[in-house]
Amino acid sequence: MFRDRPSRTGRALRRKAAPRSHVGGGEWSPPLRRLRNELALITTASTALLWLDNLSEHYRGGFQRKLMYVPIVANPIVAAAGALTVATGGRRGRKAFGLLSAAQTAVAIVGFVEHQRGILKRPGSNTPRDLLFNAWYGPPVAAPLQYLGLGLLGLMASAPQSAAAPVLDRVPVDRLMRAFTALNIPPLWAEIGYLHARGSFQNRAQWLPVVTLPIAGAASVAAAFSDSSTARIAAKAASGWTALLGAAGTGFHLYGLHRRYGGYGRRSALFNWLNGPPAPAPMQILGLGLAGLAAERAGAAR
């Protein structure tokens, strides 16, 4: 749990660390301290959920290449550092969390490249029109980029004040997060779009993220350039809606599993989990939305 105020031990620790902190360039303001804790929590939870999703997918793929183990092994280490950071209110593990988050962005980029190579190795890839078919049933195109988003979020949650201050002096944290949201949406949107297309939009709700995420993205972009209260409202609405989509999407995906043959029955549940709509996947956009909302609150306190 994150705390508004540091605990007694926390204060004691901070007193000891105070001189170093000064060298680093000063103290976090209480709203930012709180935001960092919130971001650490969101990043950790999202990373753990992504691990579940990732494990299911790579297991289904039979860990056909050794590289497929990398995110499965790396992810829990990042999540553990994140969990330690959250549990201690940032007094322990934050540095490790930051370094590991940076490493995670590298994993994401390697994964992204490997996924494209996997798609291109499939039959029919000599004709561009078969690329969509191959993407539907090959390694998911943009999925590894989720690790990139989480890596960056983890860095935001753990960067030392000295490193963050020059940036935050120029761009306030809420606008920074709006830009981050806007950058995250396109790959998520593409991934959701082509996978929902594979499902033939058989449930009309599958259109919801496809149609509305670009609007949320556009609102975030616009808001990233403005300090106005309209911008804040737009950004809050965009993040709130994104979070809502994530929560609803999880519900729909769980319902989708129920609709498969055997549903949650003992003999089918695991198979359906592995092959049906990915239940943990929409939680990634829930996380993104919540991070945006948290940043808006921190920004409002500015």
């Binding site: 039959p123 000599n126 539907w136 297309a197 033939s200 058989q202 043959y261 055997g262």
Partner: protein
């Protein structure tokens, strides 16, 4: 004998076309009765995942098969029970090409259809949506589409990948097949879980047989389906109009009752063997050669598809038993090619026989038995099978007659089927098998062997624009008996190189629309 009150339409045979007819007519407000010789299956109770048990889905009443090249019946061609052979078909759902409807004009063989592709196109689309066909994003061959398939294609399985890689290496176009099994949920029906048992009856309802699609909708719309009812005569009144169908109904105690169902319209949808048989059995003083047979064409022009399978031994496990066997297809060799020594062409598709069927293919084509056969079968998972759908041309000598002295369990004369390859058919078959081998070898097969086989039935009561050489007109109305319609695969003029079910269903959907329109104009 029980006489049922007159209804608007009685349909004999609730299979691929009968299912469509009962649904569409019932939804148009008609009082409809569908008679089916077999049981009304409940997939959740009657279907098991066992190769031997599921032979019960086949039409297994007595029949004789002869001619120069006798074809295999039962599972290869017909089904028994509501849903007909759509319950066990391999569920490729393909449209015929434009050229298929005009082979006389283009190639100088057989006859043109009285229908064009454009006539059927809206009905192809209608049926594809009703069934939830999963097909490729684009269709590179003929049969132009106005819109995308309603469902996205299924993933490749091992055999599909073998066909794809072989084709890639040879510069042949391939696509995931357009097939009648769901790739995403549709109403109450779940998507396919890739069990691979499709041709033994789908236990999950993902497979879009008429049993779980059209027939369920028909019953909701008020149609009555009367199973275990074997029609044996279509009765006409003194004016020569079809009035009723006589049939034997077997009750739950195995007792057989003779019953009669009167209807304003009688539609025979018993497929290429039972439809001609019923018409021939309905001979009377008025119609000494059988009903609707003034042309003498009832029972003639029966066609099959050459469906030779070539198996290839691949370096890695293929496990062709996984996922629906119809996985990928190429129709690059579908149309007439002047470079060939034959006209028309063929499709090449994936297959996926389960162990019994595979072992039987091995035994029959390699002649293996003994220790060799058992050891050969250790290698089952390494085999990929490609199937041919080769066009055969209609010939009057190929067809169905009544056996002069043998009878079935009802005392009815059994059908005698006769078939022999024509010269064009044989050349086409040879070319197809060579192509299948070539694709497998290009994909890396270390050894291949071919198993000769046939599938599907087409023709036997062909449609036409001239009453002297066809049984029904383009609306499936019998030329010489008013009130009688024949609507199933037997009306096919040519066989095409596509699996016939979707075309059978599109013709049925069109016929239903024509009937409803005629009814509105009080022309029936």
């Amino acid at each position: 004998m029980r006489r049922h009150e007159e209804v608007d339409a009685v349909i004999v045979g609730v299979g691929a076309s009968g299912g469509v007819l009962v649904k569409k007519l019932a939804e148009a407000g008609w009082r409809v009765v569908g008679l089916d010789a077999g049981p009304h299956w409940n997939p959740h109770e009657d279907f098991v995942s066992d190769e031997r048990t599921m032979h019960k889905l086949y039409w297994r009443d007595r029949r004789v098969t002869g001619g120069d090249d006798p074809i295999e019946l039962a599972g290869n061609v017909t089904g028994r029970g509501v849903g007909g052979s759509t319950v066990h078909y391999s569920m490729y759902a393909l449209r015929m090409h434009r050229s298929d409807f005009e082979v006389r004009t283009r190639d100088g063989v057989a006859s043109d259809w009285p229908l064009s592709y454009e006539d059927l196109e809206p009905y192809y689309e209608e049926v594809e949506h009703e069934l939830g066909i999963a097909g490729p994003v684009d269709w590179p061959w003929d049969a132009p589409r106005r819109g995308a398939y309603p469902y996205r294609p299924h993933k490749l399985n091992g055999v599909g990948e073998v066909l794809a890689r072989g084709c890639d290496a040879l510069g042949i176009q391939w696509r995931p097949g357009a097939i009648a099994t769901l790739s995403a949920p549709k109403q109450e029906r779940p998507p396919c879980v890739y069990r691979g048992w499709c041709i033994y009856g789908c236990t999950t309802d993902a497979k879009s047989s008429t049993l779980v699609t059209y027939v369920r909708a028909a019953q909701k719309a008020g149609a009555e389906i009367r199973p275990n009812s074997m029609a044996f005569r279509v009765n006409t009144d003194p004016s020569g109009r079809a009035r009723s169908v006589s049939y034997y109904r077997t009750d739950e105690h195995g007792q057989v009752h003779e019953e009669e169902q009167a209807a304003r319209v009688v539609i025979v949808s018993g497929y290429s063997i039972e439809t001609p048989r019923l018409l021939l059995m309905s001979a009377s003083a008025q119609h000494p050669d059988g009903l609707a047979n003034a042309s003498g064409m009832v029972g003639k022009g029966l066609m099959v598809h050459s469906s030779d399978i070539v198996f290839g031994r691949m370096p890695e496990p293929v496990s062709m038993f996984k996922a629906p066997p119809p996985n990928t297809i190429t129709q690059d060799f579908y149309e007439t090619d002047p470079a060939n020594d034959f006209v028309r062409g063929y499709s090449v598709q994936t297959v996926g026989p389960l162990p019994i069927k595979f072992a039987q293919n091995v035994a029959s084509s390699l002649g293996l038995w003994g220790t060799d056969l058992r050891e050969f079968m250790y290698d089952y998972v390494h085999y990929a099978g490609l199937g041919l759908v080769g066009e055969t041309l209609p010939e009057d000598r190929n067809g169905v007659t009544l056996h002069p002295d043998e009878t079935d369990q009802y005392g009815l004369p059994i059908p005698a089927v006769s078939f022999g390859w024509g010269e064009n058919d044989s050349k086409l078959k040879t070319a197809g098998v060579a192509r299948q081998k070539q694709i497998l070898e290009a994909a890396g097969a270390q050894a291949t062997f071919a198993a000769s086989d046939t599938a599907h039935l087409m023709g036997g009561c062909r449609m036409g624009s001239d009453p002297s050489d066809s049984v029904v007109d383009r609306d499936c109305a019998a030329w010489d008996v008013s009130g009688l319609y024949i609507c199933d695969g037997s009306v096919f003029v040519t066989s095409s190189a596509s699996n016939p079910s979707l075309t059978i269903q599109a013709i049925a959907a069109r016929t239903a629309d024509r009937l409803v329109a005629a009814g509105r104009r009080h022309e029936l």
